[in-house]
Symmetry: C2
Subunit: 431 residues, 2 copies
């Protein structure tokens, strides 16, 4: 049996680290408070995120500056950016829902983010406004023992590649991990619940509010009953969590909590047609581009299915480029398709025959079993021809539409170049 206490010690900060972190956070908060006073702002800093809740794996400090609702967005952002730049010597500006400032003090990463001050039950103005409410809720509910359990759960999910709610991962956020432990009390109980439930995963289990949501994981946000805190989790990641929970409970191993993924050998030629569809990615942030890359992937898969290329797999990789890999069963589209008509004992046979009998180029209508069919000839296309001919009608989203004309179609079997999307595709594994 695995010694979970030992793992907890390994993934928790030392007293020394904890002390440095607390001190740094206090210093930053104090400085921001002074700057708010100096600028006569109706605003104050608040420590949020996993450091404030004592559930962190990586000691990143998130400081939100809560502004009164009287400020408009522009004024709020301008004031927060000024303060952030003054507090963080190496600051750079980033962009999520609002612009914010990111930098370092004593080697610790610090974000300074503006938001509106919201009381519980009050309507939020922007999504980030909820973070201080989440922090207060978790801090009030969680015990020290449970903080360690959150760390275990996060480590488990991180190893499985399902930790983080960014669209790139579509996994479980830190807040969701905290709510899971608040609900199940221990890491093992939490895994047990994933391994035993069927269908949608819902907390609270018999919540009437859950009916409103369509996502595979539904965890009602305790600070806002109208919100699903786990809306980001994909069906794949719920599935991974269930399968891996079951594996861990049968055969607990530290591998599930700290193992590095071993790269698999790349299988290239398996008699299929693989192409990489590459768009330039210069200057676009991941979180905006990923949904568009996914949309691009889905458009391509649907297109190849429609064209009769029989797509059997796909993968996305964001590097210097946006790479979408599609694996099809065939290099060329079929020269005809077997079109299924109505059953012989249906009134619709006449309509079907009238429609097709005029076409000199089809075979049939003929009978097979109890129905009518025709073999309809098609223009044959290569993958390249086909995609280029359909490209104008794609709507991939604002950013990617602008880049469509720069699309490059790469056949990775030609030449020796290595592609990270190929490695990602061929190393697909639950572990």
């Amino acid at each position: 049996m695995i010694d979970l206490e030992k793992v907890i010690r390994e993934i928790s900060p030392s007293a020394e680290e904890e002390k440095t972190l607390r001190k740094t956070a206090e210093t930053v908060l104090k400085k921001i408070k002074e700057l708010c006073a100096r600028e006569e702002l109706d605003a104050e800093p608040v420590l949020v995120g996993s450091v404030s809740k004592g559930t962190y794996l990586d000691p990143d400090i998130d400081v939100f500056i809560e502004f009164d609702r009287k400020y408009d967005r522009e004024a709020m952002v301008a004031a927060a950016l000024n303060i952030g730049r003054e507090v963080l010597p190496d600051s750079i500006e980033r962009y999520a829902e609002h612009p914010y400032v990111s930098g370092h003090i004593s080697g610790i990463k610090i974000d300074v983010v503006p938001c509106y001050r919201i009381k519980e039950g009050e309507r939020i103005i922007s999504a980030v406004d909820r973070s201080p409410l989440h922090t207060r809720y978790v801090v009030a509910k969680i015990t020290d023992r449970e903080r360690a359990q959150v760390r275990l759960l996060k480590a488990f999910m991180k190893t499985a590649g399902i930790y983080g709610s960014e669209v790139r991962t579509r996994g479980f956020s830190g807040y969701v991990c905290e709510l899971l432990i608040i609900s199940h009390r221990t890491f093992l109980n939490c895994l047990k619940s994933f391994s035993e439930t069927r269908g949608k995963y819902v907390i609270p289990e018999k919540s009437g509010d859950a009916k409103k949501f369509i996502e595979p994981v539904i965890i009602i946000d305790p600070v806002d009953q109208g919100r699903n805190a786990a809306a980001a989790v994909s069906i794949e990641n719920l599935s991974r969590m269930r399968v891996l929970s079951r594996e861990f409970l049968r055969n607990p191993s530290v591998d599930y909590l700290e193992r590095k993924r071993k790269p698999h050998e790349t299988h290239m030629d398996r008699g299929t047609a693989i192409r990489i569809f590459r768009l330039p990615a210069s200057g676009i942030v991941d979180d905006t581009i990923y949904p568009q890359a996914e949309r691009f992937r889905n458009i391509l898969v649907d297109l190849f299915a429609e064209g009769g290329f029989s797509p059997i797999g796909s993968e996305i990789d964001l590097n210097d480029h946006i790479d979408v890999l599609i694996e099809c069963e065939r290099e060329f589209s079929p020269m005809f398709f077997v079109h299924k008509g109505p059953p012989a004992d249906s009134e619709r046979t006449h309509e079907f025959i009238s429609k097709w009998i005029k076409r000199e180029d089809v075979i049939g209508p003929y009978i097979s079993g109890d129905r009518l069919y025709v073999d309809v000839p098609l223009d044959q296309h290569s993958i390249e021809d086909y995609v280029m001919s359909r490209l104008p009608e794609f709507n991939i989203g604002a950013h990617l539409n602008d880049l469509k004309n720069e699309l490059e179609i790469i056949d990775p079997s030609k030449g020796d170049e290595k592609f990270s999307v190929m490695e990602k595709f061929f190393s697909r594994s639950i572990f």
Copy 2:
């Protein structure tokens, strides 16, 4: 509107023809009667078949010699063959259930067939023993007006290629046509019943006896309630009859009663893999060989589906050889297959993972949607390799098993040779 009376005149014999036929039949019957007396046989000739019932399209005379049950099969056959040879100067011996004699008088084809004398309700000894009972039933029930309607129905079915109950055709026998008209009274009513009914086609409509039968067309034999007179009819031929009845009723045309099939152009290369599997046919009668050829076809289709060649069409042609054509989507079997595992929320995930994780050559287990999968590598085969490697395990039936080692696999796209099975396959049409 089509003039059905005119069609009836065209397909019915002239008074002259009818007279010659009657005279010939009477002469043959009289001669056989005399021979039976000379040989002191407890046996007498009886005119059966469509000529005796006045429902024929082709004037073939069928004379059965009814023997008393006291004769054993050998004695009965020997006596009948002797008589047949004496009556028919150009006789040849043929074989159905028993041997029989076939020849010509005044250009009219005549069969002389032995059978046992059976009274209605008595148990038959061989299948041919029923023919005299069928003849008596039809003659007693049918009117002259209805005889003409039977001729129309037979002409319609002949044009559609669904007339005849031999295994090669699996269509409607002459007796079934007569029962259909006895039931529906007119040709048009009969077509109406085919165009309007759904599912199985049953006569009498609410027959309790029909429940015993599994065939698509069930017509209870009035002389034997335990027999389905239409057992031979395939689902394809019922479907053809339904679709064509509907077409005819919407737009009646003599084309459906006398049209010659126009040969279609042969489409050869449509990006698929077509092979002809050829066995020698020397000296084997059609009716025994066809079910075995069909079994061979089904074995091949199943085999190619199992091997991942994606079979999409097939055809059988019996000529100097037994030719089975199979059309597959691919020339080579795939190099791997995507094996679907259990859903993530099932207890069986561990078993699946344990089984596959040991295999170094597979990709996965990985998650897609809500389930586990693995990509399992396969040995790649050509159609030829694959069939030859599996040949020893085929059980095609007594005759064809002996010929397996003479199997020839022909790729019709190589070379200019024409194959009748190709023409048959590519001219598939409801019309």
